[in-house]
């Protein structure tokens, strides 16, 4: 693919480096998320030691929540409700992108270096990831120059307005998270109700569904049957839904399918920050599409989902 940028900037290489940095470096810091008029902050720590990875996220404000990760196991704790949810780390986030991941992104986006800035006291490259069509949002990314660690990501709307932003306001690269601060909480769960929602991979067509034509740039990266868990791990009415996840190399769309229930289901569309959602009835089925993409793209996913003719 021809790259019109200045020869010094290799987009594929830069993207690969950024993808790998989050997994391979140790760091601690505070991250602020703004979007949909809401501001939340989290204390984040990540330790990479040989093949071991440890991570800890504490959300400040709102209802307490802590997340711990050791390699491929993730624990979310809700101290107020005393609920502990164990889940496998999602594959799509786990592995650093291989070069082919970077190439996929370049199919749908153009990547350009647009500047250098200091952020949270560190030097960063600023890169603009511009979509090649109107099916997805642009992003502006700040990556620390030495490590490639992504320090800030802004999702931009069609007029360049910031739809949402995640940014480190302070970052200590190389700072080590104590291993016990992750393993301890993962082991000591006295008084907690422990929940282990299950999911199993399935074939979309075996479940009776197909996508007519594709949605440009997006490919399915996973399809599973899983229980939808209430966010705070509350009630026990975890329903089984089919979740098919699509990616364009940068962002994701989830398509959920479950049996229609007229007591609960109401068609609607919502928009919050960069996230758009559509819920609609399709005969005996209820379809929900969630994506960090424009509403039109979410609608295309819903339209193109078809029941297979037997």
């Amino acid at each position: 693919m021809a790259q019109p940028q200045a020869p010094a900037f290799d987009a594929t290489q830069w993207l690969t480096r950024v993808q790998q940095a989050a997994a391979s470096h140790s760091y601690r810091g505070t991250m602020i998320f703004t979007g949909g008029g809401i501001v939340t902050s989290s204390k984040v720590g990540h330790l990479s030691e040989g093949r071991q990875r440890y991570e800890r996220i504490e959300v400040l404000g709102g209802q307490d929540r802590q997340q711990y990760r050791h390699n491929d196991v993730v624990l979310t704790l809700w101290p107020r409700d005393r609920v502990a949810v164990f889940e496998p780390a999602p594959e799509t986030v786990d592995f650093p992108a291989l070069p082919v991941g970077g190439q996929r992104l370049l199919e749908s986006y153009e990547v350009r270096l647009v500047g250098h800035e200091r952020i949270a006291g560190l030097d960063a490259d600023v890169v603009m990831v511009k979509p090649r069509d109107a099916m997805r949002f642009a992003q502006r990314l700040w990556a620390e120059r030495g490590s490639g660690l992504l320090m800030r990501a802004d999702v931009l709307g069609p007029r360049g307005e910031i739809l949402e932003s995640s940014a480190f306001t302070d970052l200590s690269l190389g700072a080590k998270l104590p291993v016990e601060s992750v393993l301890g909480p993962m082991r000591h769960l006295d008084g907690y109700r422990v929940v282990r929602p299950e999911s199993q991979r399935v074939q979309l067509d075996a479940e009776g569904w197909v996508f007519q034509g594709g949605v440009p740039g997006f490919r399915m990266v996973s399809c599973a049957r899983r229980a939808l868990q209430a966010v705070a791990g509350g009630s026990g009415d975890a329903r089984q839904v089919l979740q098919a996840v699509f990616s364009d190399g940068l962002t994701h769309v989830s398509v959920f399918v479950e049996p229609y229930d007229d007591r609960r289901h109401r068609p609607m569309r919502t928009s919050l920050g960069a996230t758009h959602t559509l819920m609609n009835r399709r005969g005996d089925w209820w379809v929900t599409v969630v994506g960090d993409v424009p509403m039109g793209t979410v609608q295309q996913f819903e339209t193109r989902l078809q029941r297979r003719r037997e």
């Binding site: 809401i38 990540h46 404000g61 992504l150 302070d170 839904v241 989830s254 029941r307």
Partner: protein, 191 residues
């Protein structure tokens, strides 16, 4: 594959803009209103324009990287020296959805557009679709409704968001630690 939003959208958008700014000619007002009635996207945008109009009056608020970097540097210093309550909600307070916090954030120059949670309910079009048949976008346009944490919980949207977040880690796959995002928090807080 054709782009979903092209000329019609642009024309509609410009007409709405003109209407918003009080610059539309008489004929334009009528057609903009007609478009508004019929096109849910136009209504959504109208709603959004109104809600964020005040905040976005100035071109300045369209952030420049330098400005944001300065803000972040300032924010970092503040965080180091004082306990800044970034999430200003208690269980008793219903978040005046996005608007007030948007003003706070935007006033700091950090956000150009806060975005708005808009739920559109499909008007009575709950009839089943022909099994296996091709289904195109519904002809009946849903109304624009202001949503709330309650709506999210009633529709159990938080569960879908949460399941989506698990695999997507936010709109950018590369952001470390940005697992927890707004809607999860918002849905939880409104108890």
């Amino acid at each position: 594959m054709s782009k979903p939003m092209d000329e019609t959208q642009d024309t509609a958008r410009m007409a709405l803009s003109a209407l918003m700014d009080g610059e539309a000619a008489a004929g334009e007002v009528e057609s903009a209103c007609a478009r508004w009635r019929d096109a849910v996207d136009a209504r959504e945008r109208w709603h959004a324009y109104h809600l964020i109009g005040d905040v976005l009056r100035s071109e300045e608020l369209a952030s420049s990287p330098e400005r944001d970097a300065r803000f972040l540097a300032g924010m970092r210093e503040r965080l180091a020296t004082e306990a800044v309550p970034l999430v200003q909600r208690s269980a008793a307070t219903r978040p005046a959805l996005r608007w007030q916090t948007a003003s706070v954030a935007a006033a700091a120059g950090f956000l150009a557009v806060a975005g708005v949670l808009v739920a559109m309910r499909s008007g009575g079009d709950a009839t089943g679709q022909p099994a296996g048949g091709a289904v195109l976008a519904s002809a009946s346009q849903p109304e624009v409704m202001t949503a709330s944490g309650k709506l999210i919980r009633d529709a159990q949207l938080d569960r879908y968001f949460s399941a989506h977040r698990r695999v997507s880690n936010g709109a950018s796959v590369m952001v470390p630690g940005a697992v927890v995002r707004s809607v999860d928090t918002m849905a939880i807080d409104e108890k």
